[in-house]
């Protein structure tokens, strides 16, 4: 599988042949929408919450600089530090400097898609640090050298036997080579045992943030396993890695959006843990980190501000869009060849990589609209994908054959008389070609269709031609219309 969006089609063929992936995305297609629906049906004001969430984010984005600076002020006032990172390289360097200054060796990590975006783990390893993923899914794929295939459930493509085999290999040093039970509960128990050591011995803990709260300088994480909390309060240093669009003005605003986040993501009313962190430990706290850092990453988000793409910055990374996407739930996350996948990934990736490197992603959509209808933040995803298609078209990125075909069609469709004649001729020709089967299995230049489907034959004449004949006959018969 190529980590390259331009290989989407090739990757999709591999994904369709991958039984494990097909089973996994088949479950996503069925289970995730069901769970979401059950969690939402019990909230009569769900639509109002979507509107409210949209309004909060829109207001914040219109004044993003103000709120980020207000956030920074509060972080500093509570004893923390804020680092502004325009690029992934800036973010990686800021994190490295903190780690090196502390003489750190082991770095535990709560789940953070932004750290995947900046490829942090590889960078830390290159600099002799040991990053340990503590979210169970992230831990599993880290052992296998893989990336997440879903932004919420990073290891959904893995089977229990695969996990058992990975643990057998990688836990041998710590737990021995005697056969151990390999049912899911036992495997989770193994991971817990191994990760316990990492949690308490880590020198630095890195988490993401679901929200940055300007009012208090707090960061918020939403987790189910408790790993986020152990990552951030055990080591002496807590680093929060967050992209700039995560900021909201007040605690109340965060609470409003929290009401629809977990419901949209996993069908839970709330995740098991919702943790607010403000600054390093205070003198009166029993535990907590000595140092609290927030790295604010731009990496292209500010490019969206003030454009039609600003709406994408409302995204709260719930994953509902990909859970309901007929394409994602057919091919899974690796097909997209990018950190982010599905509908939201297809809008974000061309901004991260440049449209030249990622134009295939906005094309790989049927515009069915399911994503927009389930997005808790009311992001008009198909419209944004279409905007990217317009940009790609302006840059001549669709293939030359495609542009030529489209150009030909456009020329005729703007001239009704010529169009009517050609349609009539085509209807006759194709009906004749299809013969008595009334199906076309092969047609020159149409292999992209006929390799996979028959083409039902036209009926032999066009509607406009038949209608005109009918009108003429009626006139001749003296029937006036």
């Amino acid at each position: 599988m190529q980590e390259n969006p331009l290989e989407f089609r090739k990757n999709s063929v591999e994904a369709l042949a991958d039984e494990n992936m097909q089973a996994a995305v088949g479950f996503v297609a069925f289970g995730f929408p069901l769970m979401r629906k059950m969690a939402i049906d019990i909230v009569p004001e769900f639509e109002d919450l979507r509107e409210a969430g949209k309004a909060i984010k829109d207001h914040t984005l219109d004044h993003l600089d103000f709120y980020l600076e207000a956030f920074e002020e509060k972080v500093i006032a509570s004893g923390g530090q804020v680092h502004w990172a325009a690029t992934p390289e800036d973010a990686r360097q800021a994190i490295l400097e903190i780690c090196q200054r502390r003489g750190a060796k082991t770095v535990t990590k709560g789940k953070s898609m932004v750290t995947e975006e900046i490829e942090l783990n590889e960078f830390l390893e290159d600099n002799d640090l040991v990053p340990v993923e503590t979210d169970l899914g992230e831990y599993i794929i880290q052992l296998d050298g893989q990336k997440p295939s879903h932004i919420i459930a990073p290891a959904l493509h893995k089977t229990v036997p695969e996990v058992a085999s990975l643990f057998k290999k990688h836990h041998a040093e710590a737990l021995g080579s005697e056969p151990r039970p390999d049912d899911p509960e036992s495997l989770v128990g193994e991971a817990r045992t191994i990760l316990r050591d990492s949690f308490v011995s880590a020198d630095v803990g890195i988490t993401g943030a679901n929200f940055l709260i300007a009012e208090t300088g707090s960061t918020v994480i939403v987790t189910n396993e408790g790993n986020g909390d152990l990552t951030q309060n055990q080591p002496p240093v807590h680093i929060v890695m967050a992209s700039i669009e995560k900021v909201v003005p007040t605690l109340e605003d965060a609470a409003t959006i929290l009401r629809i986040l977990a419901r949209s993501a996993t069908g839970q009313e709330m995740s098991v843990y919702t943790t607010f962190s403000t600054g390093p430990k205070r003198a009166t706290d029993a535990d907590g980190p000595e140092e609290f850092h927030v790295i604010l990453l731009d990496n292209g988000r500010s490019r969206f501000l003030g454009t039609e793409f600003q709406e994408m910055l409302r995204c709260i990374k719930c994953g509902a869009c990909m859970n309901h996407c007929p394409v994602y739930t057919k091919v899974g996350g690796y097909t997209y060849g990018s950190t982010y996948m599905g509908p939201m990934g297809s809008v974000i990736t061309p901004n991260l990589m440049g449209i030249e490197k990622a134009w295939t992603l906005p094309m790989a959509s049927t515009f069915c609209g399911q994503c927009a209808s389930v997005c808790p933040m009311k992001i008009p995803l198909p419209d944004l994908l279409r905007k990217w298609r317009e940009t790609a078209f302006e840059k001549n990125l669709p293939s030359a054959t495609e542009r030529y075909g489209l150009g030909l069609w456009v020329r005729y469709v703007r001239h009704p008389k010529v169009y009517q004649l050609l349609t009539k001729i085509a209807a006759r020709f194709l009906a004749h070609w299809a013969g008595s089967r009334r199906l076309i299995s092969w047609l020159p230049l149409a292999s992209a269709w006929t390799d996979f489907r028959d083409m039902p034959a036209p009926q032999g004449d066009s509607f406009m031609s038949l209608y005109k004949q009918q009108q003429a006959e009626q006139k001749r018969a003296g029937v006036d219309k």
Binding site: L406, L439, A448
Partner: protein, 280 residues
């Protein structure tokens, strides 16, 4: 060529937007639409200068050409009380997207918005505007494999999500005698057509349509029915390649009782047991 154009103050002057797919592939759907609209009390015209709504250009990112094509459509239809299309996707293009195409143009923007407000998908027009609660003529479906003709209905994406078509076809279909509608799982899920998507990513598209056809077959339906010809050609075409075990028809055909016209794709199981041609 009849082109009577009524005064906008009259309530029943309808311009039929045939759609390019119906024009080329299945005129019988256009004639069924004409008949249904006339039965509901409308004076129907078919403007001669119509070609296509422009969606292929629009969804390919070719906004400039989409605008020019849209202008042609607006000019052809703007003097009617209503514009009706036997397609949720084409109606949705005019109704939702034409105003967007002209957001920077005050003159065309106004014209587009006016037209958008008057543009409807066929079946929902009959129920929601013409207030048809059941069919004016008695329509009896032919025998299916097990007595009643069993059908299942695919909700096309634009029809469902842009034009709010869902209950209406079911309502009118329920007044066809000897017809039994069984809902498939995920009837509102995409069929995988997506315009040029199905030829750019045909393997993925095939995977999606196979999922749809599995759900459709599981209902035991004799006929797969829908309101958008793009979806029907896609599903029918795949059905023909992978096990031709359902008829495929457009909902308008059923609502006028046109069971004589060969279906889009024909059920190849025992011809004696299946819907017979030449009867109604």
């Amino acid at each position: 060529m009849d082109e009577t154009q009524g005064e906008p103050s009259q309530k029943n002057n309808v311009g039929l937007f045939v759609t390019c797919l119906v024009d080329l592939f299945r005129p019988s759907v256009g004639f069924a639409a004409l008949k249904l609209l006339e039965q509901s009390g409308c004076i129907v015209s078919v403007p001669d200068t119509q070609t296509c709504c422009g969606q292929p250009a629009y969804n390919s990112g070719d906004r400039a050409d989409a605008i020019e094509i849209a202008k042609n459509t607006i000019a052809a239809f703007e003097d009617f009380d209503y514009v009706v299309a036997p397609s949720g996707s084409c109606a949705g293009m005019i109704s939702h997207h034409y105003p967007r195409l002209f957001e920077d143009d005050k003159n065309w923007g106004d014209r587009a918005r006016k037209l958008a407000g008057r543009t409807f998908e066929l079946v929902s027009f009959l129920t929601d505007v013409r207030k048809m609660t059941s069919l004016p003529e008695t329509i009896t479906a032919p025998e299916g494999m097990t007595g009643k003709l069993k059908i299942t209905y695919h909700d096309s994406c634009a029809g469902y999500r842009e034009m709010n078509v869902h209950a209406q076809p079911r309502q009118l279909l329920s007044s066809v005698d000897n017809l039994e509608l069984t809902e498939m799982d995920a009837s509102t899920e995409c069929c995988g057509f997506g315009g040029t998507f199905c030829i750019k990513y045909p393997e993925v598209s095939s995977g999606i349509v196979d999922r749809k056809l599995t759900n459709a077959r599981a209902t035991g339906a004799d006929v797969l029915v829908g309101g958008d010809l793009g979806c029907l050609l896609n599903m029918g075409g795949r059905l023909a390649r992978e096990g031709q075990d359902m008829d495929v028809r457009h909902v308008a055909e059923l609502l006028v009782g046109d069971f004589d016209t060969p279906p889009i794709v024909k059920d190849l199981r025992s011809p004696d047991a299946g819907p017979k041609e030449g009867t109604s």
